[in-house]
Symmetry: C2
Subunit: 160 residues, 2 copies
Amino acid sequence: MCGGVTRGAPYRHFPDKDSLLAAVATEALDRIAEQARAVRAEPRASPADKLHRALAVLMTVGRRQPHLYRLIYATPAGDPAAIHAASEAAEHAQDEFFAIVGDLVGAQHARRFAALLLTSAHGITDMEVNGHLSADKWRLTAEDLVSTLVSMIERQASGE
Amino acid sequence: MCGGVTRGAPYRHFPDKDSLLAAVATEALDRIAEQARAVRAEPRASPADKLHRALAVLMTVGRRQPHLYRLIYATPAGDPAAIHAASEAAEHAQDEFFAIVGDLVGAQHARRFAALLLTSAHGITDMEVNGHLSADKWRLTAEDLVSTLVSMIERQASGE
DNA sequence: GACCTTCAGATGACATTGTCATCTTAGCGA
DNA sequence: TCGCTAAGATGACAATGTCATCTGAAGGTC
C-alpha cells in the first residue's frame, strides 16, 4: 500500500518528507488564495457576504480535509526552499483575505481586523475539527461564532 | 536516551502512546483550570483584567511549551478512558474561562463570547507559535489581537 | 528467615517507517 | 545501435511503537 509506488520513490523529487508535505501545503494554500480571489471578484455580493464566503472556504478545508488543514497551519518544516515557498503561499492567501476585509471595514481598520479574523477563524475551525467545541456545552456552531465576530467588527468599524 | 528508563517501560502504565499523551494533556489542562480559577479568585483585579490574565495563561503555555500546547488542542486519542479524562479536563478548564467571561459581560452574553474568546485566543496563539502571524506583515502581537477582541466584546456587551 | 506473590522495569523481538545507496530500465538523443 | 538520464525498485539501516518474556526488588505469610 504505497499508492502505486515504493516508499523511497518520492525521495527522487523531495529531499525529505517534510519538504514534500510543505509542497502539498503550498499547493493547498495556492488553491485557497485562488478561491478567495474568486470570491472577492464576485460582482453581486456584498463585502460582508464575500468575507463570510472567504472564511467558509477555510472552514470547509478544515472539515473536509482535516489532515490537509492541519498541514497548512502546522509549523512549516523541510528544506529552506520548501519552507519559503509555503510561507510565500500563506502570505498570498492572507493578502486575499486582507483585501476582502479591507473592502468591508476600510483601510484604516483592515490590518487589525483581518489579522483578528484570520486567527479567530482558524481557532474556531481548529477547535471544531478537533472536537474541542462541544456542541452540547456551547450550543454554538463555528458559523455562529464567525458571524458574531464579523458583525462585531462591522459595527466597530462603521460606528467609530 | 530514554529518560532513564527503557522504551517499553511506559507500557506498564498506559495501553499505548496516545493514552500516555492524553494523560499528559489532561494534567496540563488541570493545571490550566487551576490557574484560571486562581485568577478569577483574585480580589483586587477588574473582570477585564482577570480575563486578560486568564487568556495570558493559555498563551504562555503556547509560547513556553509549544509541544504541550499542541497536545492539548490536538484531537484526543488513545483508549476511551484516557480520551474521556482529557475531555473532562478540557471542559473544566473551559468552565473557568466561561465564568470569568460571565463576570465581565453578564450571563446572557457569556456563552457566545466565552466561546468566541476561547477559540480566538487559541487561533491567535496557534498561529503565532507556528510562525503564521508574521510580525513583519501584520505588525500586531498576539496581545494586540486579544486586546482588540476583548475591548470589542466589552463594548458590545455593555452597549446593548 | 525461607517462601511466595506481585509489580515495575529490562531485554529482545517484530513491524512500521523515514532515509539512502545501489541497481534497473524505459525513453530518448547521437 | 549505443549510451545517457531520470525515475522507480530493491534492499539495507536506524528509529520507534508495541509486546511477550524474563528479572529483581518489596512486601506479606508461614
